[in-house]
């Protein structure tokens, strides 16, 4: 491995995200970033580091704690022909400004009969890192339930860079959910870690990636759980169970065909989700796969997700509810032993 490539692969996720935004801001001067602590501090995780220095305090605006105002500002900026990136520091905070996300940004292209485009990226961070009920949620299922939003949650630096670029170039509103555990992870520690080119590149929104090939069980998931799923797949591989792991990469659009093709081949589908169980991704994806390949196309179907409970603070309790390696391996074993 060359030194240069070595350095790139050691980059943490925040630096890669900041690099992607910078490249897009360079090629398109209508991109404006607004959020709390994104400028001078470079973002609480460093995912906007250096942008304000480079592009100025008007294009990378440190906002007061006025989420209602600056989220709606995004809508107004988009209507005025700009491409705003609005950062909601933690996805849990969306409650104070959901109005502008789900009643305005999500609906305006439709309500206007296709006349008013709404190119906004709502960049935010979700996921469990021991921060309890108000700072741990994923909520992609919530956004996916609301018509008009694309919802992206990548799992590695390469995909974050390409999907962020695609999001900033899209004319539709996008909720881009980074995972706090991945933001804090060392670059080298990613299990699924494709090369990160220096140049700008995009990854099409709505295309899942098969990140491990297998023949016994199809495991579909996204975000940080891809890492967990790969770990679980390695463990059960030693027991002779071959797991195909699919990273969905986005919840809207949801790449059902890729999952359905794999599940039709393995005959077993396990959907794992760090978001809440009920009315969520696990049921939706399972049903869509059944609609595509029929009940007879599957021998087994199962799911694992966060139970319908606020996320507890204590580590022992958090581990009891968040789908981890042990829970996933147990499911995989049970499914492989069945018919």
């Amino acid at each position: 491995m060359s030194d240069r490539r070595n350095d790139r692969m050691a980059m943490g996720l925040p630096a890669v995200i900041a690099e992607s935004i910078a490249l897009e801001m360079e090629r398109d001067d209508t991109i404006v970033c607004i959020g709390e602590d994104i400028g001078k501090a470079g973002g609480v995780f460093g995912a906007t580091a250096g942008l304000q220095e480079r592009f100025g305090a008007d294009r990378v605006l440190d906002a007061p704690i006025s989420e209602m105002a600056f989220t709606g500002m995004g809508v107004g900026l988009a209507q005025a022909g700009m491409r705003p990136l609005i950062e909601i520091m933690f996805v849990d905070f969306i409650g104070v400004c959901l109005e502008q996300v789900y009643n305005a940004a999500a609906k305006i292209h439709y309500m206007s009969g296709g006349r008013q485009r709404m190119p906004i990226v709502f960049k935010t961070a979700g996921g469990n890192i021991g921060s309890a009920a108000q700072h741990s949620q994923c909520l992609w299922g919530l956004f996916a339930h609301l018509p008009g939003l694309k919802v992206v949650a990548p799992c590695n630096p390469h995909d974050h860079k390409g999907l962020m670029a695609a999001a900033l170039r899209s004319d539709d509103p996008i909720v881009f959910i980074e995972h706090k555990a991945l933001l804090l992870q060392k670059g080298r520690d990613f299990r699924h870690h494709p090369d990160i080119p220096d140049r700008a590149y995009t990854i099409p929104l709505g295309e899942a990636a098969v990140v491990r090939q297998g023949s016994d069980v199809t495991l579909a998931t996204l975000s940080a759980t891809v890492e967990t799923a790969l770990e679980a797949a390695e463990i059960v591989a030693d027991e002779g169970i071959s797991v195909e792991v699919i990273d969905l990469r986005s919840v809207v659009p949801l790449d059902t065909p890729t999952v359905a093709r794999s599940a039709a081949r393995t005959g077993r589908l396990l959907v794992v989700d760090e978001d809440y169980l009920s009315y969520g991704l696990t049921a939706e994806l399972s049903m869509r796969v059944i609609e595509q390949i029929g009940l007879d196309g599957l021998r087994q179907i199962d799911r694992l997700a966060l139970p319908d409970v606020p996320i507890p603070a204590a580590l022992s309790l958090e581990q009891a509810v968040v789908p981890g390696t042990d829970a996933i391996t147990a499911k995989l074993r049970a499914m492989a032993q069945g018919n």
Partner: protein, 327 residues
Amino acid sequence: MPDTAKMLDRYRRMGAMRAFDEACLDALRRKAIHGELHVGLGQEAIGAAMFEALQPGDAVVSTHRNHFHALAKGVDPRALLAEICERETGLCGGRGGHMHPFDPENHFSATGIVGASLPVALGYAHAFALRGEDHVAVGVTGDGGSHSGAFHETMVMASARDLPLVVLVENNALAISVDFAAVSPTSTVAERASAYDALGLHVDGTDVDAVTAQFCHAMDHARSGQGPVIIEATCCRFRGHFEGDPEHYRSRDERNRLRAEFDPIALYADRLTEAGVAREDLDAIIKSEKAAAKAMLAEVLADPLPDPADALAHVFVDDVFVAGAAA
């Protein structure tokens, strides 16, 4: 010496706005509108003032009671009426309806959520400032919306950055049923401007000359880089909050009194006759505006409703599978 030609223009504009909303009421009676309808009868002077105060590049983000603002901003009245009447030929092809008209070319939009107009106007103001354009964004709200968090947050951000924003508060003293005096900590909304280091203007919104002068002053202030303005125009809502509102919160006598004392069109007719204009000339203006609106409604009602096969079109710009669509 009063400029009667200019005064007559204002009178006609107010008459056209009232005739437009009367056509909407007619459309409702004919069941061409199957949802809610909020008309602005009694608030025409503010719409007419907005017409004179705006320049083409300015933006307006309005409320659920938005028809006069749309007309003031230059939205095509026929397309607006067709949208209100849920027609394929409407401004938004019948997807938005009367609370959600969008006219990107004219920088006009509205929202049905009280207070939510202001942050969107703030976004326009930031865009104008970033691009060095001398346009102004106008965010409209009512007295009800002036109590929302969005109002406060918008003023915080706009004033800290001296953005070209005019917040128009149409204070009809009723947030559906709740009296302004009963819930407001201040006797006016305009006086809150000082807390944000912004300009606050308070004007009689039933006096078209006064509200036009103050509106132009507000726009000049914002346009010249002196920061945001709150302009509060007091007025009366002659009809219910929505058509069908039982109005348990006020008596018929009270409503009739407001109509008798504060009708901006009748008040202006008095001023015009004092300036020497004949009453019959004024009546002829109203009559011709009513006839024009009536003819426009007849045309619109002959337009088709949107094709049900297109109900799922336009969710996204990109061609994305919409769950529930026929495969």
